[in-house]
Each structure stands twice: as C-alpha cells, then as structure tokens.
C-alpha cells in the first residue's frame, strides 16, 4: 500500500494532536508549570536568605555569586521533597546552610550563572556587605565573620526570628545546645560591638 504525502501529513497531524491532547501529558505539564511557578515565587520572597548566607559564608563577590548559584540549583533539585511540613523559609535555610557548609565548590568560569537573572532595582551590588563605619548592620556582619561556621548559622537564624525549635531542627542540635550557644554568641557579639564597655 502506498502512502501519499498528504496521508503522511495527516498522520503526523493526528499524532501531534494526540500528543497535545493526551490527558496524562497535559496533567504532567500543568504540574510541572505549577511546580516551577511555586518554586520561583518561594525563591523570590525568600531571596534575602540566600543573599545573607552568601555574604556570611563567602568572602569575594565571585564566591558569593557561585554560592547563590549552587544554592538555587540545590533548592530546585530538592524542591520535590518539600512536603510543606515546615515553613518554606525554614526549608530554604536548611538546604542553603547545607550547601554553604557541607559541600565543596569548584571554581568553574564556564558555569551558567543563575545570579545574572537576579535584577537589582537600585543598581547596587546586593552581595556587598554594608560599610561597618556607616551602619550597625555592617558592623554586625564584621563581627559575625569572626564566629565559627556553626555559630554563624545560629546567629543568622536567630536574627531572622527563628524559634529555638526551628534552629534545632535546621541544624540538628538539641534545643538546650541552641540556647547555650546563643547566649555565648550574644555575649561575644556584645563585647565585639561595644569594646569600650
């Protein structure tokens, strides 16, 4: 049996229509789009977490960009595991701190930079730490830099109003331990920020 060009064209069209209207495919695609939209809006509303972690755990602008990049990638890869049993910010903190503290990063200049898609409206370099002489936040960053890696995480979480229970869940240490450490950190920071007292 010979097929004409027209037959083939019709067959392709049927196949295409079937693919487009396949309900399972459509549902999967819809779910994917929903997942992407949810992820992006969660990322946008919690972008300050990523920026602050990058400022605290990396020391050059390039390293900070790399860290933000890695965090975004890991957040996307881990997003299907987010079941909503904790706040999205808590979950973002957990993944971000794991990336910042537990993974080794290799400098790769050819890497695609997700950071380029973060548009800063006032044109400033968002990853730069504010000046310590002109703002108390800058001074705080300077003092946080002197803390140990784990203590940096504790103070970041405390400053972002996380409860002891949440800090303990994110870091995997007991509540008592969080409380003891936090008191020590506060004392240390107080001394550093007010050396004359």
């Amino acid at each position: 049996m010979l097929y004409s060009f027209q037959d083939k064209k019709t067959a392709y069209c049927d196949f295409f229509i079937c693919r487009v209207t396949n309900p399972i495919q459509t549902k999967r695609k819809k779910n994917m789009i929903k997942r992407e939209t949810d992820f992006l809006s969660a990322l946008e509303s919690n972008i300050s977490i990523l920026i602050k972690i990058a400022r605290v755990y990396a020391y050059t602008t390039q390293d900070r960009k790399d860290l933000v990049n890695d965090i975004i990638l890991e957040l996307w890869k881990s997003y299907p595991k987010f079941k909503g049993d904790s706040k999205i910010s808590t979950w973002i903190y957990r993944v971000s701190l794991n990336v910042a503290l537990n993974t080794k990063r290799k400098r790769d200049n050819s890497k695609v930079l997700f950071f380029d898609e973060l548009k800063v409206l006032d044109g400033s370099d968002i990853l730069d730490i504010p000046n310590a002489n002109s703002s108390e936040i800058g001074l705080l960053y300077q003092c946080i830099e002197l803390l140990s890696e784990q203590n940096k995480a504790i103070i970041l979480l405390y400053l972002d109003d996380k409860s002891y229970e949440e800090i303990s869940q994110i870091l995997g240490i007991s509540r008592t331990n969080v409380s003891t450490r936090l008191n020590r950190i506060k004392e240390q920071l107080r001394k550093q920020m007010n050396p004359q007292k």
Partner: protein, 197 residues
C-alpha cells in the same frame, strides 16, 4: 549596641532586599532546566566511563593478545577479574551511599553522612592501592610477558614495581593517614555535638 535592637534593622534589611531584587523568572527557570539536564548527562557519562574501565582493558588485551601459555593466561585472567570486581564493588557501593545524601535533612545529619562517606572512600582507596599489584600481576600473566627471561623485561618490571612501590608508600605512609586523622577528628566533633545538650 544591643543585639535585640539590631534585630529590627536586620528585619528591615530583609524587606529592603526582597523589595529591591526581582527575578527574571522565565530566563532563570530556563537556565536551571538547562543546567540540570546537562548535569544528568555529565554524571551518566562519568559513570559510564568509570564502571566499564576494566572491561575496556580486557577488550584491548583480547584484541591484541596471542595466547602462548594457557595456564598463565587463565591465572592472570582470574587475578585481573578478581581485582576489577573488588574495585568495582567499592565504586558501586560508594555511588549507592552517595544517593542517600539529602540536603533537606539537618546540617549535622548531613555533615555526619558526608564524613562517613569520605571515610568509606578513603578506605576504598587504601584497599585499591594494596590490591593493585594483584591486578598488574594478572595483566603480566595474561600477556605472558618475558619479565624474568630477558634483560629488557626485567628492567621494565623493575621500573614498574619501583614506581608502584613509591606511589603506594607515599600514599599509605603520608597522604592517607593525614586524611584519616582529619576525618576522625571531624567525626569526633560531630559525636560531641550530638551528645551535648
């Protein structure tokens, strides 16, 4: 300057960052999808290259070999396959353990798993170093090299053995113990942190 007072400025800065940063959502998602699909391909390629490496050696041997001594050949084959299975078993075990890592778990839990994984990899390297002479002997026996009957053969054997002995000595005496020490220290710190509180 009290830390609790700074907390307000910190929260204010969070809001400022969130208001100042806008995501180019479609471009970002496109980049993320591109990167994840590239990473999947890259990982598969690495795995495909690493796992069948002994098979490639065997194919090369079989295509160029003229079996002169059947007994030596089978003993050599047995030794080489034994060594290859041993290294492959370790490699597969490592990749299986690697899959358990989950960045959505707590920081301490992840740190513990990563340290255990590094320890496993180090032990695997040590075992591979110790058993590598078996694999080399297997190859020599299979190709029935005239190692002891000619001067050239003896010199070649001597050179190979010297380089191998130096490499194994340096690794087992200096490099691996230093890494073991660092990892054991890390594990000890994790244990302490878990016991605290």
């Amino acid at each position: 300057m009290e830390l609790d007072a700074i907390k307000n400025s910190w929260k204010q800065e969070n809001l400022q960052i969130a208001a100042n940063v806008q995501l180019n959502k479609s471009a970002l998602m496109e980049k993320i999808n591109k990167e994840t699909s590239w990473m999947k391909k890259k990982n598969l390629l690495v795995l495909l290259f690493r796992i069948p490496f002994p098979v490639i050696i065997l194919i090369l041997l079989f295509t160029n070999i003229q079996i002169r001594n059947i007994f030596n050949f089978y003993v050599g084959l047995g030794l080489f396959l034994g060594f290859a299975s041993f290294t492959l078993w370790g490699l597969i075990g490592y990749y299986l353990k690697l899959r358990i890592l989950d960045l959505t778990e707590s920081y301490l839990e992840n740190k513990k798993k990563i340290s255990e994984l590094e320890l496993f990899k180090l032990k695997m390297t040590k075992r591979n170093y110790c058993s590598s002479p078996v694999g080399i002997a297997g190859i020599f026996l299979m190709i029935n090299m005239p190692l002891f009957t000619t001067t050239e053969g003896a010199i070649m054997l001597l050179l190979i053995m010297t380089i191998m002995a130096i490499s194994i000595f340096v690794n087992l005496r200096y490099i691996l113990p230093a890494q073991f020490k660092r990892l054991n220290k890390e594990m000890e710190e994790i244990r302490k942190l878990e016991e605290e509180g």
